[in-house]
Amino acid sequence: MDKKIIEVKDITKIYKIGDVQVRALRGINLTIHQGEYISIMGPSGSGKSTLMNILGCLDTPTSGTYYLEETNVEKLNDNKLAEIRNKKIGFVFQTFNLLSRSNIINNVELPLIYSSKNNTKDRRLRIMDSLRAVNLTGWEKHKPSELSGGQRQRVAIARALINDPAIILADEPTGNLDSVTGEEIMAIFQKLNQEGRTILIVTHELDIAMHTNKIIYVRDGLIFKEEKVENPIDAFKKLAEMPRLEDRLN
């Protein structure tokens, strides 16, 4: 078996809203190995966002243990968590979350700014590598507002890749995109996974989840079911079958 990237045991999360206690997570056990391609599905209010936040080290659990590549995360302070987010996790959000005032290079570079270890020349190379990995070159000096939704999401993925993270966490990465563009993004994830990257996608679209190798269903703060996907959808094949506007116009 490949090495464990994420191992959470019996994680709970309780929010206090006034006097009311909300038990968002009620004991989650989950192990993710190197190279896995997993999706988490669940209706809204199921706790999948809370789980995502905890896995992404944006939040800490109320109880339970969380190991991220041998680091015991649940007891770390804000600064240490920030460092983990910077070095080990690559976030991809539904709304892209790019800095609108910065150009593409600076957006992709952002995690490097907060890790301060590379010289400028090395940085340049890594930025270009990242952009090449998502098939987006020639737009370096443009602002996010000058790019299409699909292109913006690819910038976000390039940004997530730049520090060579242990895992990529994508929260509804295709939620704001049309189906063809969404499929293009899924193709990028598929390619990255084939290159050995560990990817976790949170989605409520079964169609998207079916691209991954394993689906974890979350309901009422618990893992309801884990299911291996027998024949995951090949995004490249599907993309080839999809009707293309250019073809229709010809």
Partner: protein, 413 residues
Amino acid sequence: MKRSLENIKVAFQALFLNKLRSFLTMLGIIIGVGAVIIIMAIGSGAQSSIVSNIQSMGTNLLTIEPGRDTTRPGGGPVEFNRNSTPTVRGDLYLSDYKALKNASTLTGAAAIVQRSSTVTYMGVSESVSILGATDDIFKIRNYKISSGNFFNESNVSNSSNVAVIGQQIIDDFFGRIDPIGETIKIDKQNFTIVGTLQSLGSNAMGQNQDAIIIIPVTTAQNKLYGLSTVNNIIAQVKDESLIDQATSEITSILRQQHHILSGKLNDFEIRNPSQMLETMSSVTNTLALMLAGIAAISLLVGGIGIMNIMLVSVTERTREIGIRKAIGAKNKDILTQFLTESIVLSITGGILGIIFAVVISFILSKFAGINTAITATPIILALSFSTLIGLIFGIVPAMRAARLNPIESLRYE
């Protein structure tokens, strides 16, 4: 290094995104810094001209004045120098001058009578200040002859009707006529002009020193004003270091002259030019300090403006803060970023303020004839002060930004 460069770049981006807002925010700092520098420039300009004027009069000159009654409460004019020794009313005479003239610590002395009289020449009349003096005045005051001669000792002892005139008098009465040998009327008495003075300009108090007619002190006393006293005596000390010795020698000579018993107060007052200098400086310093205080308040108000705008900026950019934190920015990084921004804002304001001040000072000295001197001190002071203001008033908004929860910030619309 890269991070602070990035911070400064982001700060400027933010400033340029809201040009008008940034400018209005900086205006408080611009006006504050500008006011501080202009006021200090005018202050030090005035001071340096006063200092050079008093110094040109000679720092080794003591002025002896008749005593005023300082023992009577509320009596006499406002004390020019609060540290002077108390005196009783008294008078000075030519005999005092003669006694002082050969004092061992002095190189010389001059007795002076100063009045205003109507001067007439070829039907033109004007009120002019008349300086009745002994002939030593020319040497002591360092007057330079332009044409003709100074009057001499025998003119003084004979009460001759001779006069030496300043450049302004030449301009006013003679125009292009050579005044030497001409006769003018001072209070209906004829005086022969024997010499003209080189131009002296204005003195420390802004009086025109060229609008002057110098005549023998005895002539002024006997023929014009009917006086037995003199207004004051100027004593020239051999060396600046002997000023204290000279003061005590003059005191003992005059006490003897005036038959003052020991234990009684002096009936004269000795004024020291360096005391005058100090008094003048302290007056201008106090003024400058007061105005600088007002300017500092304006800087403070500017600082509050910066804090206000930074709080708005933090709220507006909550989402950006969320993104940065999700990607690995520590609280410290966000703090530095917003602190950099407020400091950039205030320093930019400070620099614009300095430019503003330099331009205004230039205009003032060029077109309004006000002496200004911009020195490094107020510029350094203003810059560090505005940096400090950016730091102090930026810390609250920056801390608020740093403490934002990344999850909630990412959800912020």
